[in-house]
């Protein structure tokens, strides 16, 4: 059984199953999941929760190699087994979820993107950054800046602007209460019913499940001028934008 959870610093992959099941079997299951949803994971960094399983250094190396082949970085492995934790540390991985340090010096921080994004400003009201290990959604109340990536298996809600160069990648819906100028990928785990809503829809790129839409520059400008809240969703295999309208109502 493989479960993908979102937490403050990024993604946690829980690999559970009967204790006698070999690690390789679980890795194969994970691989098929990665292959099915490349857009969701690519470029990210993840933590494993291996439960009580005892893993050898070789098991861990294989895990890292598998993830690396999918352009994913493994930065931490949680385990209840002391020997496993020792192997984890000897490979230079973290054995707990708190980032080792947010200082620039830290060698292996979680994700180049997710921690700096999700846990960006520890001093600025961390409570606002929301649900510690919620699997249903991620609420972020601040500006998402260029180079920052928010990645969550559930929904992502941003109260603030999403700047050009920023990315939001959600298994579910994406709601931006502000101006969306960056890249948004909703339904990144395959849900083609997912939507992207923004008060000011001026994105560089919108993706929903496997569909993608790149607005032309003049289109972005006219959208921005119109300044109406819009919802992007898939209709007839294409991404369409529906302006929010008091009379019509986009959603019945």
């Amino acid at each position: 059984m493989i479960a993908i959870k979102g937490y403050r610093q990024g993604l946690l992959i829980v690999l559970s199953g009967p204790p006698e099941e070999p690690w390789l079997t679980r890795l194969r299951e994970l691989e098929s999941k990665l292959n099915a949803n490349p857009g969701f994971f690519r470029g990210g960094s993840v933590a494993f929760d291996a439960g009580a399983m005892s893993l050898s250094e070789d098991d861990l190396r294989r895990s890292m190699a598998l993830l690396a082949a999918h352009e994913i970085t493994l930065w931490a492995v949680l385990s209840r087994d002391e020997a496993t934790r020792a192997h984890v540390r000897s490979l230079g991985l973290a054995d707990r979820l708190e980032p080792a340090s947010t200082a620039p010096a830290s060698g292996s921080s979680p994700d180049n993107s997710a921690p700096s994004a999700v846990a960006s400003s520890p001093h600025a009201a961390p409570a606002e950054e929301g649900h510690a290990d919620a699997t249903d959604g991620l609420l972020v109340r601040r500006r998402v800046r260029s180079g920052q990536v928010l990645r969550h298996p559930g929904h992502i809600v941003v109260i603030g602007d999403v700047n050009p160069g920023a990315q939001l990648i959600a298994g579910g819906d994406i709601i931006v209460w502000g101006r969306l100028q960056g890249v948004a990928h909703a339904g990144a785990l395959g849900d083609d019913q997912a939507v992207v809503c923004a008060l000011d829809m001026s994105p560089t790129l919108i993706r929903i499940a496997d569909a993608a839409y790149v607005p032309r520059p003049d289109e972005i400008r006219s959208r921005h001028r119109a300044g109406s809240a819009e919802t992007a969703r898939i209709e007839d295999q294409q991404i369409r934008f529906i302006a929010w309208d008091k009379q019509l109502r986009a959603f019945e």
Binding site: T102, A103, P104, A105, P115, S116, A117, A119, S120, S121, P122, H123, A124, R143, R145, S146, G147, Q148, D161, N163, P164, G165
Partner: protein, 262 residues
């Protein structure tokens, strides 16, 4: 904590970090503060040239970190102000010659003696940038009024925040009010819309800068040029004086307004 260590950075190269460091450092010294400007760009040092102190370098910060000299021996005194010093960097090494913890340690030494330590960060977001930001109490991000520079500033502000450093303040450099009016250049408001960061100074484009950099005389030493005034204002804001933001902003706003009603 007193905000003594001020890092000047930008992400993008060529926006005016070194000029800003030299002028803000010199302006603070002219206000009677004891100041050291520190070149963070190992292997591509420039601050010594802009300060006109190139030919006085004997030891540098890497020599100090590696134990070849005392810190005092590496400091070069700039006689144009009462208490202004340059701590140069090495030209023949690369960024890995110093670790962030060593920069913190160097700055902890300097804190004992100086009111302000101004660090000139290299371009980029790699090791040299991380070295420059690690000891910072305050970060000044320099941007030009153009899209790519603002994009990099945005990236850098995000990184600085993720390191738990700050507050970040913005310097808009090389603004030309007339070009903003013609909408060839981003306005101050356009930049705030993206970065939503406090502005500590707006420095107009100024021909005096090129000549002064080549001559090794920061404009604040003798100039009444627009940039010199803007840099002196930034220094006064840094020491806590309440100096209203300089004219370019209001000018462009007024003139934009007039331009619309015409």
């Amino acid at each position: 904590m007193e905000e003594k260590v001020i890092t000047v950075t930008s992400g993008k190269g060529g926006v005016g970090k070194t000029t800003t460091t030299a002028n803000v450092g010199a302006a603070l010294a002219l206000l009677g503060r004891k100041v050291v400007v520190l070149d963070g760009d190992i292997g591509l040092r420039n601050l010594d040239i802009v300060m006109g102190l190139e030919n006085r370098i004997v030891y540098d910060v890497v020599d100090y970190v590696e134990g070849r000299c005392r810190l005092r021996q590496a400091l070069i005194r700039d006689k144009r102000a009462s208490e202004l010093y340059l701590l140069p960097t090495a030209q023949t090494r690369d960024k890995t010659a110093i670790a962030p913890e060593q920069m913190v340690q160097v700055c902890d030494e300097l804190r004992k003696e100086f009111d302000y330590i101004i660090i000139d960060s290299p371009a980029g977001i790699e090791r040299g940038f991380q070295n420059a930001v690690a000891p910072a109490d305050r970060v000044l991000v320099v941007t030009n009024p153009e899209v790519s520079s603002v994009r990099d500033a945005d990236r850098v502000i995000g990184l600085v925040e993720s390191y738990g450093k700050g507050p970040v303040q913005l310097i808009i450099n090389r603004l030309v009010a007339a070009r903003v009016r013609r909408q060839e250049m981003l306005s101050t408001q356009d930049i705030i819309d993206v970065l939503s960061t406090e502005i500590i100074g707006i420095v107009p484009e100024d021909e005096a800068i090129l000549a002064s950099s080549n001559r090794g005389t920061p404009v604040v030493f003798n100039g009444k040029s627009p940039a010199a005034i803007a840099y002196r204002d930034i220094a006064r804001r840094l020491i806590g004086e309440n100096v209203p933001l300089a004219q370019p902003q209001t000018t462009s706003w007024w003139q934009r307004l007039l331009g619309r009603t015409e």
